[in-house]
Symmetry: C2
Subunit: 415 residues, 2 copies
């Protein structure tokens, strides 16, 4: 934004010019809510309820076991995987859908380590999403071969790539700060050092431009329930560079990854393609819901999504700067658009009760320990004037001290 200070009319004008505005009608957004938590759980697409009802009543209820063929359940996860692949620039044949992000991390990290048997370091960022770190720790403990999870700060990553590093494992857009890595550059740097790269795209897929094939990424995982709007706990996805597939061995060798699952052979033989990275039967009702969200993401031109996302994060940050001065709110997301995902994170020592107060007023973001208010920007169903309204409520909450009365609820699930 060059104009300062911004007015609500400026934002209404941006809404009128918003090429993505028609997407809003594809989603249910409750009245009285400004939903800035689509980075934790994406909104409900209007078409999902009917699709899910059809899967339950017709495909399951009437088709019963026949629906594995007749309703195409067998092929559904693979079809959705290829669609997600189009959103993130995956090389064809490298995508699978199923399991959770954590389980997929385990499978791919194991495969990566095995492809670099002479190396012992998993390099990552100290502030990576914890499950990524935990999975690496658990795998290292299981293998008991001296693997080390080496944690550095984001600016130290490139310099830490030496010939001890087997795998560089990073989350492309940091869940906490919204800071985004240069995927192509770091992948190249890792390859130059002889390491493989595993990208976690939980906060990227559907939110920022990703081109796994162009970046020559080796492995990636990601989440269906954030910017892909696949529903609570939607099955996750994984990506393996097809050039690695023949050599990659995945440790959780379930029957869906077998070359001939229905031959019921005694010995495991991996499927020839990406199916070897799959394990068991996918939860089809949740899978069907995921596809509806993915189909919408496919319709939205990523250049437009990115442009609006950056405008939203810029506007939101500017509004906080202009209208919430003196409250001790500290924006920790990068100012440089090239380094910014689709969220604005704001630190405050009392972030938790402040967010509780905001939620009680219909401004739904989330809290991240120890001190961050997190506001996710979802260009497909949030408009600019809503950002004004959200910041006004934030200002009121801070000015009136309403947050001091907010209840404390430790168990909030928001990722």
């Amino acid at each position: 934004m060059t104009k300062s200070p911004l007015t609500r009319d400026d934002l209404l004008a941006m809404d009128r010019d918003d090429a993505l505005a028609p997407f809003r009608a594809l989603f249910e957004v409750p009245d009285g809510v400004v939903y800035l938590d689509g980075n934790s759980l994406g909104a409900l697409p209007r078409a999902t309820a009917a699709r899910v009802a059809d899967v339950v009543k017709q495909e399951w209820g009437q088709g019963l076991i026949r629906s594995w063929n007749d309703a195409g359940w067998m092929d559904l996860p693979g079809r959705i995987a290829e669609k997600i692949g189009q959103v993130i620039g995956a090389a064809p044949g490298g995508m699978a859908v199923g399991d959770s992000t954590s389980v997929n991390l385990f499978k791919l990290l194991s495969a990566a380590l095995e492809l670099r048997p002479e190396r012992r370091v998993i390099l990552s960022e100290r502030g990576n999403f914890p499950t990524d770190l935990y999975i690496a720790q658990g795998l290292a403990a299981l293998l008991a071969r001296g693997h080390e999870l080496r944690l550095v700060e984001p600016h130290e990553v490139a310099g830490a790539l030496d010939d001890s590093v087997a795998v560089l494992m990073l989350t492309h857009v940091n869940y906490h700060t919204g800071a985004m890595y240069d995927m192509a550059g770091l992948t190249q740097a890792a390859h130059d050092a002889g390491a493989l790269v595993l990208w976690d795209l939980a906060h990227s897929a559907g939110a920022v431009p990703v081109d796994l094939a162009a970046a020559k990424a080796d492995f990636a995982v990601g989440c269906g329930y954030k910017y892909l709007n696949g529903g609570p706990g939607a099955p996750a996805f994984l990506y393996v560079n097809p050039d690695l597939l023949d050599r990659a061995r995945f440790p959780v060798t379930g029957w869906w990854g077998h070359a001939a699952p229905f031959a019921f052979e005694v010995g495991y033989r991996p499927a020839s393609g990406i199916a070897r990275a799959t394990v068991g039967t996918a939860p089809m009702i949740s899978i069907a819901a995921l596809e509806v969200g993915v189909d919408i993401a496919l319709q939205a031109p990523m250049a437009q999504v990115r442009a609006k996302s950056l405008a939203m994060t810029s506007v939101f940050a500017q509004l906080i700067s202009e209208r919430c001065q003196g409250f001790g709110l500290n924006i920790i997301s990068p100012a440089d658009p090239a380094l910014r995902g689709s969220q604005v994170s704001v630190a405050h020592p009392d972030a938790y009760p402040i967010m509780q107060a905001l939620v009680s007023r219909g401004v739904i973001g989330d809290f991240r320990a120890p001190d961050v208010l997190r506001f996710g920007m979802t260009p497909l169903y949030v408009g600019f004037a809503e950002l004004w309204d959200a910041v006004e409520i934030l200002r009121d909450v801070m000015q009136t001290g309403q947050w001091r009365e907010a209840r404390f609820n430790e168990r909030r699930k928001v990722t």
Copy 2:
């Protein structure tokens, strides 16, 4: 059955006397279908569609991220797990729901091996469901510590329990034959040999009496989409004897298994209870559907379920013997009720096209390579007269040679 030959009137009389008959109204069963494949995909409970619609439209659509607390999503998998635990006699605090059966096998088998570090043998049955064998093979390959998957025939299991066996891993009711092991006896024998036991209850939970606590079982896994009627690909369950929990380490250390998932600590610390065996976010729509099926299973007295199941398998086998002579059909399920699960498996060299012909006539069982017609008996929604009708259609298919024209479809998903 003492009466022979049976008549359709005999079976109608059994239906009139069936204490479980009212359960049929709780399920959708399509007109014109005799559904004998509930051991692969259980039928749709009538209440599921409304529950799923509520989760989608209200909890997700209106509640959005707030539903993790406000709609109880946080606690839902644990609540369902405890309910399944009541169906299978689990010791309190030992059950979790999530992931697939295959992933759960991986986690529990790994934990079991680590509890017997001086031993190297995983003992199982050659005819075990393949994913169980594959998971063991994959884990052994990953560990690369000389673990061996030793496969024997069912009658050889007890004799093969020596001091090299770390884990006895068996499926309680065999998917192929329907033969059932003596869980308590073999668990005791394994313990006497110093081994741990992991039971796969895929074809047991909700179908036959199981008392994990009384049997002192160490570990168990199972499936939500068969006799628990949880829906296609419903999330699986796992059980760990609570006495082992403090010492058991699960290798897939996701953030849901952390002692404080929302503290976002850098280091993994396992949760104190069974939560340590969980990994990532569960697919909530499929989870919600699962609960509806489990709630019905909880209402059905297992003694009645077992009595009707045995009557059904007995009647079905008798009808085939009496009415399908000379067609080369060979019943391979155990004649002894104590050794029989809730299915009748019938071998025939042309089992595949025969089953295709049956399905085209509305008698839905399934085929298991290389030569088995599998008929699952689900006491909650199948009646005795339907068994007569199914066998009459089988007789007609065999007599007319209709099966010779049946299409061949290799990809049928039926487990």
